[in-house]
């Protein structure tokens, strides 16, 4: 089986990255009659977030997307991925926040445990490899948040560090790496 294509897309808020990512896969779906799969990692933590999720859902309703809500543990989705699927994951930043702070309600967040996030990182890369061994395309969407003064909060600095580390690794793994700026597409890497 041919390895599917991995695409990494990042950009600022409202840069049009989700729309671009969706369009990319919809075109493929029409051309080759393939299934569209959407993995959503955002959770409705407040009304604004709920509205945001609703808007994304409406945007996708024009096409036949199969949606999986997966805030954490991406690997549990693996049995649901079919050969030839066009998979979109939106987005890495919400997933990272969910994983990094998982367990905070019991006073034992992952971020405070030695080796916890490292283990999740390994699992993530394995999951991505497995997805592209089945799917024909896997698009990962993330955010540009690292061009500002380091936060005064240690937790936020750790988050930034992890996000940068994941981005570097994913750009390295990706066949295509794209930065979006207000709807403009900058292709940093394409093979």
């Amino acid at each position: 089986m041919v390895r599917g294509k991995l695409t990494f897309i990042t950009g600022g808020v409202r840069s049009g990255k989700s729309a671009y990512a969706e369009q990319l896969l919809v075109k493929e779906a029409h051309a080759h009659n393939r299934r569209l799969v959407y993995i959503a990692s955002g959770t409705a933590t407040d009304p604004e977030m709920a509205t945001r999720i609703k808007r994304h859902r409406q945007d996708r309703s024009r096409e036949n997307w199969t949606t999986y809500e997966q805030p954490k543990n991406l690997e549990t989705l693996l049995p649901f991925i079919q050969r030839g699927d066009l998979v979109l994951w939106d987005c890495l930043t919400t997933w990272l926040a969910n994983e990094l702070y998982a367990g905070w309600e019991t006073g034992m967040p992952c971020v405070g445990q030695v080796g916890c996030m490292e283990q999740k990182e390994v699992t993530l890369y394995e999951t991505i490899e497995t997805i592209i061994s089945k799917a024909s395309q896997f698009v990962i969407v993330s955010n540009e948040v690292l061009d500002e003064c380091p936060s005064s909060l240690a937790e936020v600095r750790l988050y930034s560090e992890w996000l940068g580390r994941l981005h570097q690794k994913l750009v390295n793994k990706a066949d295509t790496a794209i930065e979006m700026d207000y709807g403009l597409v900058k292709i940093w890497k394409s093979r």
Binding site: E144, L146, D147, E148, C149, W188
Partner: protein, 139 residues
């Protein structure tokens, strides 16, 4: 002078280290979060934003010190872009962003080469000024 710029945790230092290794220049002096004394030996300067935050100098003095440190020497400067986030609540953080921005502009205008690093990938923003300057200076 060769300036490298990019957001935090984008792999800037790793890229520069790889480049220096490929050029066989692993013994080059590397200073982090401070300025080297003015001199003629090659140097890598990184973490200027940390130096700026605690050096206690006025903007004018800071820029002068910086330019003296890189003057007339083979310098590699690693800059962290901190100017594209939400405006900070704290006045001193806002001031730091402004000073950084103006210092970075000055460094980039004087640099022979400017490279942006995006998660380990390099893009040339500027190159070849040196030759033009040499020509202008009639040397």
């Amino acid at each position: 002078m060769h300036v490298f710029i990019g957001g935090a945790h984008n792999g800037k230092r790793a890229y520069v280290k790889e480049l220096l290794k490929a050029q066989g220049r692993t013994d080059i002096q590397w200073v982090e979060g401070r300025l080297p004394l003015p001199g003629t030996e090659p140097v890598v300067i990184a973490g200027i934003e940390q130096w700026l935050a605690q050096c206690g100098l006025s903007e004018e003095q800071a820029i002068r010190r910086m330019m003296e440190a890189v003057h007339n020497r083979d310098a590699v400067v690693v800059l962290t872009d901190i100017g594209r986030g939400i405006v900070p609540m704290e006045a001193d953080q806002r001031e730091l962003r402004d000073i950084c921005g103006r210092l970075y502009q000055r460094l980039m205008s004087e640099a022979d080469e400017v490279t942006r690093i995006w998660y380990g990938i390099a893009q040339t923003l500027k190159r070849g000024e040196q030759d033009e300057n040499l020509y202008e200076n009639g040397r």
